[in-house]
Amino acid sequence: MNIVESIRFVMPEIILLVSAIIILVSSLFIRNKNALGIFALSAIVAASLYLPQSHKTDTVLFFNMLTSDSFSLFFKEISLFVAGIVILLSMGYKELTEKYIGEYYFLLLNGTIAMMLAVSSNNLLMIYLSLEMISLISYLLVAFLKNNTLSSEAGLKYFLFGALSTGIMLYGISLIYGLFGTTDLSIISNAVNAGQINGLVLLLLLLMILAGLSFKCALVPFHMWTPDVYQGAPTAVTAFISVGPKAVGFAVLLRIFTNNFFPLYANWVGLMTLISIFTMTVGNIIAISQTNIKRMLAYSSIAQAGYMLIGLVVGTASGMEGILYYILAYVLMNLGAFGCVIIVSNSIKSDAIEDYAGLHKKDPITSFMLSIFLLSLVGVPPLAGFWGKFLVFTAAIQSKFILLAIAGVLNSVVAAYYYMRVIKYMYLEEPKMKDISPKSAPLQIAVAILMAGVLIAGLYLTPFLNWIRNSQSFLSQ
C-alpha cells in the first residue's frame, strides 16, 4: 500500500509525534511538570482512542514496511498503556526536575512511537531502525538525571551493552539479507518454508537476531545490564524500560520466531528451552540476596522473562496465548510495583529493602498495594500474575514440556521467598522511618489503576483472553 493510503493507518503515531513537538516547543515557555504531563497524557489517550479506527482489517503499509494486524494492535495498545502510566508516574516522581521536563516527555512520546512502529514492522530494516530508536531514547532517559552519577553511569552501561548487541543483530540482519536477498519478513518466511538452508548459518542468524532481542528482553546471557541500569535510572524510567522495551522485544521475538521462522522450530526450540530455564533460575537465585528493591525487581523481571519464554518454547497457540496474557499481567504488576517504589522513595529517600520496615504503619494503602503486586508476581491466585503462570504452564504441560514446567514451578517457589521478604519487612517489622510526606495524586491514580487491573484481570479474565485470542490470529500453527 502506498504512502498516501498508508497515512491514516499511522494516525495514532502521528498524533503522538505532533503533540510531542508541541510539548517540546511549549516547554520553552511552560515548565510545569503536571501541565505538560497532562497534555502528553491526553495525547496518549487521543492516540489510543484513535487506534481501533486506524485498524480495520489486516493490511500491509508503506510498501510492506509495516503490517497492521491484530497482533500489532494488541501490542500498540499495551505500549500506549505503558506510556500513559509512566507519564503519570513521572508526574509524581520527585527526582525529575522541572527544568528539562519538556524534553523528557518529548523523548517519552517518541519512545512510544518507536515501540508502536517496532511491534508492527514487517521488515527487518524497520525492525532494526525502530529498535535502535527505542534503545537510543531509553539510553537518554536512563541518564536523564544528569547530575546524578548513578544515572549517567547506568546510561553509559546501558548504551555500551545495547550498542554492541544491536550491532551484532545488524550484522545478523545483513547476513539474512545476503541469504534471501531481501529484508521483507513475509518474503523471507516463504523462502524459509521452501527450506534448504544450511543449519550452521541458520543457527548463527538466529543467535545474532536473538542477541539484539534478548538484550531488549533481558534474557540470559544478555541480562547483566539489567540490575545496574534499573538501579541507576530514574525510577519512573526504570518502570518504563522494565516493561516497554521488554514487551516490544517479546513482540518482535514472537513475530519472527513463531511466524516467519516457525518452520525452523526444531532448530531453535532446544536453544530457547535452555535460555528460558537459565533466565528464570539465574534471575530468581540472584534476586534472593538483593538488598535494594530496585535491583531485586530487576532480577525478578529477568526471571519473569524466563517464564514468558516458556510460552514461546512451547510454540503452540495456547503457548502464545499464555505469553501474551503473561505480558499483560507483567505490565500491570511490574509497573505497579515500581509505582509503589516511587511513592515510598519519594518519602523515605531510599530504595533499601530494610528501610521498608513497618511501612504498613506509616502508609497502609501503599504497603497494601505493593503487597498485592508482589503477591501477584509470586503468582498467588486469583491475581493476574497467577493466571499468567497458569496459562504458560498449561501450554507447557499440554505439549509435554514437563521438565520445563517443573523448572518453572520450582522457580516460582524460590521466587516466593524474596517477594515475601519485602512483605515481611513492611508488615512484620517495626517502623524506623519518620512520617511520610503527602503523596502526589497522579502516582496514586496510576497505582490504583494498575491494582484494579491486577484484580480484574485476575478475577474475570474472559474478556482479556478473548482479546488475546483475536490478537494472535496471524499465527501459523
Binding site: P381, F390, I397, V413, K424
Partner: protein, 492 residues
Amino acid sequence: MSFPIMTCIVFLPLAGGLLILFTPKKNVGLIKTIATAATGAALILSVVLLFNFDYAKSSIQFEECLRWIPSINISYHLGVDGISIGLVFLTTLLSFLACIGSYDIDIRQKEYFFLYLLLSTGMLGTFVALDLVLFYVLWEIVLVPMYFLIGIWGGPRKEYAAIKFFIYTLAGSIFMLLGILAFYFTSTPHTFSILELGQTTGALSLSMQIIIFIAFYLGFAVKVPVFPFHTWLPDAHVEAPTPISVLLAGVLLKMGGYGFLRISFPLLKDAAHYFALPFAILGVVNIVYGAIVAMAQTDFKKMVAYSSVSHMGFVMIGLASMSVTGVNGALLQMFNHGIITGGMFFLVGVLYVRAHTRDLNKFGGLGVKMPVYAGLLIVFSLASLGLPGLSGFISEFMSLLGSYAEFQLTTIISVLGIVITAGYFLYMLQRVLLGPLNEKLAGFSDMSKREIFVLLPLMIIVILIGVYPLAALKYQMATIEAFIQKIGGGVF
C-alpha cells in the same frame, strides 16, 4: 437457580471483611461486631444446610455452576455432599467460635479481622469447590492471610514460622497445580470439573495415574501433614495466636485429608490402590511417631500440635483401607479432630492468657484453682486420647477397624500408638491440674463467661457424637458407600 446458599456461606465472611476495610481503625467494637456477625451468619446458614441436606442421597447437593473462564472451561462450581458437609459445618462453627475467641487480640484489630474473614472464606471455598482450578485458587487464597496472621500476631519466632509455613505449603501446592493441569489434558473432553473427571478418568493408564497422584500427594501431604512434611506444623501452631492455631489444627489440616478424599482417591483409584500400603504405613508412622514426639514436649501447644500429627495418622490409615468403615472413620475423625483439637488449643490459650507461658513444668495443681477449666481440659484430653463415650473414640475405632480388614500388622502397631497417646495426655493433665498447687499460679481466676461460651458447644458436640455417633455418621454414610463402590473397596 434457587437461593445460592453455598455462595452465601462461602462469601459472607469475605463480605464482612470488605465491610471492615471501610470501618475506621479506631472503632474496634464495630469491627468485632461485623466479624462476629459475618461468621455467625455463615454458621446459621450452614446449620440450615444441615437441616435441608438429604443424607439418603450420595450425589452432590445444593449445586451451583456458572461459567467462569469458558475458553478453558473453568467454571465457578460449588456444592456439598456427604464428604464436605461435615467439614463445612466444622469450618463455619470454628470460624465463629475462634472469632469470638479473638476478641482479646489487642493490636491492629482491623487488619486482623479482615485477614481472618478472608481466611475463613478461603477455607470454606476449598471444601465446596467442585472445579479443580477454583479449588486450587481458594486453596492458595488460604495461604496469604495465614502468613500474615501468624507473622504479625504470632509469638517470638513468628516470622520464621510464617515464612516456613508459606514456602512449605506453596511448594506443595504448586505441584498440585501441575497435577491439575495433567488432569485437564488427560481427560477427554478437557475439563477441570471434578464431577466430570469422576466419570472420565477411569480410562487413565496406571503410570499416568501414579504421576498425577504423586503430584497431588505433595500438595495434600504437606497440609495433612504426613510424616516427613510435618515440621512446619509445630512451629506454625506454636507461634500462631490461639484462634489461629485453632483454625490451623481444626480446619487447615482437614483440607489435606479432604483433598485425598475428594480428588486423589476417587479420581485416581488405581493409583490409590497401588499406594494403599505405603499410605497406611505412613499413617502408622504419623500415629506412633507423632505420639512419641508429643510425649517429649514441654511446651503445651507443641504437645497438642504433635498430637494432631498423631491423630491425622488415623485419617490416613482409614483412607488407606479404602473400606466403608475405614473411610467413614477417617472422615469422622477429621471432623472430630477438628472439634477436639480446636477445643484443646482454646484451652491452651486460656491458660496462656493467664500464665503467659506454655511450659508444662511451670504449672501444677490448677485443679483446685480452676475447677471448671479442669473439667473441660479433662473432657477434651480424654476425648482426644480416644476414651469411649466421647467422639474421638468412635472415629479412631472405625478407622482402626476398617484398616484392620486390610493391614492387620500396621493396625496393631497403631493400636499401640493409642497407649502412648493416653500416656502423654495423662502426663500433661498431671503436670497441669494435679499435684501440689504451684503458688505462682495462686492468683488465677477460673474461666470467664466468654471462654466457657466458646468451649461449651464444642464439648456438647464431643459428647453427642460420642454417645450417638449416627448423629454425625448419617450425613456421610450414603456418600461413602457410593464412594467405596466407585473406587472398589471392602465392606468393612
